[in-house]
């Protein structure tokens, strides 16, 4: 078993929480794990990413090689596309569809969704809306993680 996952989003959206949860689950299961993240800038609003690697065997690089990721998990649609160079040919992309609008030149929504939909393996869901229905849009990141578990785990992890 070996899975390379890119987590993507905007600073303050909670991707590091997703990373931590998967990380602890991996350690609890006795798997090897490496998770590289970006720290430093306290300001909210810049793009952030994390490389998460899980394996039954020892892992060397903290960074996922380009073209090798099995999965991109993104909490924002444009950020999902920023890391496409990392996705492997048969890799999956799962993303929240709610844009985070904090830049003047945010692309047209239609164009973004067309790019996402053109990928062979993609799942797009309005996680903000689902989270709001469940009580608060603050848990949007957990909805995305839940979606990965329900919609993707069986597809991706074959015994």
């Amino acid at each position: 078993m070996k899975k390379d996952i890119i987590l993507a989003g905007v600073g303050g959206q909670g991707i590091l929480t997703i990373a931590t949860i998967i990380g602890y689950a991996a350690i609890e299961s006795g798997l090897y794990l490496k998770q590289a993240e970006v720290h430093g800038m306290s300001q909210r609003g810049g793009d952030v990413q994390s490389h998460l690697r899980i394996s039954a065997k020892e892992i060397y690089s903290d960074l996922i090689p380009q073209g090798a990721a099995d999965l991109i998990i993104s909490v924002e649609p444009m950020e999902a596309l920023r890391y496409l160079p990392y996705l492997s040919e048969n890799g999956w992309l799962i993303t929240n569809t709610q844009p985070y609008l904090n830049i003047p030149d945010y692309p047209e929504y239609e164009k973004l969704m067309n790019e996402i939909k053109s990928l062979p393996h993609n799942i797009a869901l309005d996680a903000d809306k689902i989270a709001k229905e469940l009580g608060s849009s603050r848990f949007m990141n957990m909805v995305v993680l839940g979606a990965v578990k329900i919609l993707l785990c069986d597809k991706m992890i074959k015994p």
Binding site: Y24, I27, G40, R82
Partner: protein, 527 residues
């Protein structure tokens, strides 16, 4: 034993704590900050009362750690790479004084400048000072190295430089803990002259430092962190330093690299292994994260030996951090296929937060300077550096911590008017007070704005050393009381604040304006 899930930085912290650490000193700086933050919240460190508060800057931190070493206890001092420039004086001289209790200088480099002004490689400082350097390649080594380094430090009575880079500092992995050692008892140095660098003594200490260099090479040759792996194919030999070892192995399934590999995680270079590789292999490929230190050393000025490949011959880029793909290319393997970033994707650079006090300060400053035009604002390093970007376009320089005030003084000396410095509260405490003294002494015609958001925001809300005493400090340094003005940067006070800034620009002498309003994330962090 259960594994701990730790960042490289945290692994160093836990490793130092378990190795009998008595004091951690440092000044925040990405990517080193989490070493001390981990110790600050670690229950065992709190119970043992390990020293763990931030210092004013890297120089004071290094000297404090050296003082603890003098008193016989184990200390670590942490900083980012450019912090070692600030600490260079005590650092270089501590190679001559040496250590009593073990001392580790932990420095985090930032190749590719993810959040830094340059990408200097601290291993050069290691070579410069003639100290041993250890450089972990993974989190487990980062955990194990402090104990090893403390022992090495106490064996040779010499500080040890521990170098990491961004990727390891900020990457998590499972770490297995070892037994916890007791802290050292307080004890004085055996030689009462050891820390007394009068020229006559310093010369002796320097000769002593030179005399142990061969022993340090032997230590590297026998180090558990350095290794030579034989390979059948001797057309190439690979030297992989620190983290670069991982990018190498990443490219070989099941660890099956056909070439001999020399993994280096301790310096000075393990000479025996280098000689072996050079005599047995046709070509050498040097992989190192950072600048081409090893490559340059074994290539020599005339490069008349084996063919050495690396960052200097174009096999790898001359600058920036390594990654598996770059190493793959240098090994002559085919690139993995990968997609392009779609054109629709726009950049999303960091920006001042909505509601940030600095944003209001810049609007006010811009208004006050309108009549003079552009190019008069010397700034510094912190969140407020983002005031360079649109829509503010408010500042013109960012060089090193404290340089805002000194550059404004120099420009005013040249006749520039107005000459304005913009500096954060933590940066002022780090290295703004001494240039303010220069300004006062020469009665420079400058306006110094100390942006007091009550914290060191950029690096994650550490307390700032000057909290609650900025006015007193400025007054004590000699700024006239009526020209120390505190304003509240809020839209409601816009006109009033612009008027105050204009008044102080017109005053011919040293003015200090303190825009004071907490960072909007501070409340969250403190509660």
């Amino acid at each position: 034993m259960k594994k701990l899930l730790l960042l490289g930085d945290e692994a160093i912290a836990q490793g130092a704590l378990d190795a009998g650490l008595s004091g951690a000193y440092g000044y925040p700086g990405t990517p080193s900050t989490e070493i001390i933050e981990y110790i600050q919240r670690n229950p065992e460190a709190i119970e043992r009362n390990v020293h763990r508060t931030w210092s004013a800057n890297e120089k004071t931190a290094t000297e404090e750690a050296l003082g603890m070493s003098y008193a016989g206890k184990r200390a670590i001092v942490t900083m980012k790479h450019v912090g070692l420039n600030v600490a260079a004086d005590p650092y270089m001289n501590s190679a001559l004084t040496g250590a009593n209790g073990g001392i580790i200088v932990a420095v985090a480099d930032d190749p590719s400048m993810h959040s830094s002004q340059n990408e200097q490689d601290s291993r050069f400082y290691g070579k410069f000072s003639l100290m041993p350097v250890v450089e972990p390649s993974n989190q487990q080594e980062a955990y194990e190295m402090p104990k090893y380094a403390f022992e090495l430090s106490e064996k040779y009575h010499l500080p040890v430089l521990l170098r990491i880079t961004t990727r390891l500092a900020h990457s998590r992995a499972g770490v297995i803990r070892e037994e916890v050692l007791k802290e050292n008892e307080l004890h004085m140095p055996k030689d009462p002259n050891q820390f007394m660098l009068l020229p006559a003594i310093a010369r002796k200490r320097y000769k002593h430092l030179l005399s142990i260099q061969d022993d340090l090479v032997r230590e590297s040759e026998n180090s558990p962190f350095n290794s030579y792996t034989e390979g059948k194919d001797k057309s190439l030999g690979i030297i992989a330093c620190g983290l670069a070892y991982n990018y190498l192995m990443e490219n070989y399934k099941d660890d099956k690299c056909p070439f001999p590999i020399l993994k280096i995680s301790q310096y000075p270079l393990p000479r025996k292994y280098i000689e072996k590789m050079i005599s047995e292999c046709d070509e050498i490929l040097v992989l190192e994260e950072g600048m081409p230190l090893v490559e340059e050393m074994i290539r020599g000025y005339l490069n008349n030996g084996s063919k050495i490949r690396g960052r200097l011959d174009g096999s790898l880029p001359r600058d920036g951090e390594l990654n598996p793909a770059l190493v793959r290319k240098a090994l002559g393997m085919s690139e993995l296929e990968s997609k392009e970033i779609p054109e629709v994707v726009a950049g999303r650079p960091p920006a001042l937060c909505v509601g940030c006090p600095h944003a209001d300060t810049y609007k006010e400053l811009n208004k006050a300077l309108e009549e003079y035009g552009k190019g008069f604002v010397f700034s510094d390093i912190g969140c407020y550096t983002l005031g360079f970007l649109p829509p503010y376009n408010a500042i013109n320089t960012c060089v090193d911590m404290g340089a805002s005030i000194s550059m404004a003084v120099g420009a005013a000396d040249a006749g520039l008017f107005p000459s304005v410095a913009v500096i954060g509260d933590s940066t002022f405490g780090h290295s703004g007070m001494t240039p303010l003294l220069d300004a006062v002494k020469t009665q420079a015609n400058v306006v110094i704005m100390i942006l007091d958001n009550d914290t060191t925001a950029m690096t994650g809300m550490q307390d700032s050393q000057v909290q609650g005493r900025i006015e007193d400090i400025c007054y004590g340094i000699g700024v006239a009381k009526e020209h120390i003005r505190v304003i509240n940067p809020l839209p409601a006070h816009f006109d009033e604040n612009v008027k105050i800034i204009k008044e102080e620009i017109k005053y011919n002498g040293v003015s200090v304006i303190i825009p004071r309003r907490p960072c909007i994330h501070l409340f969250k962090k403190r509660h």
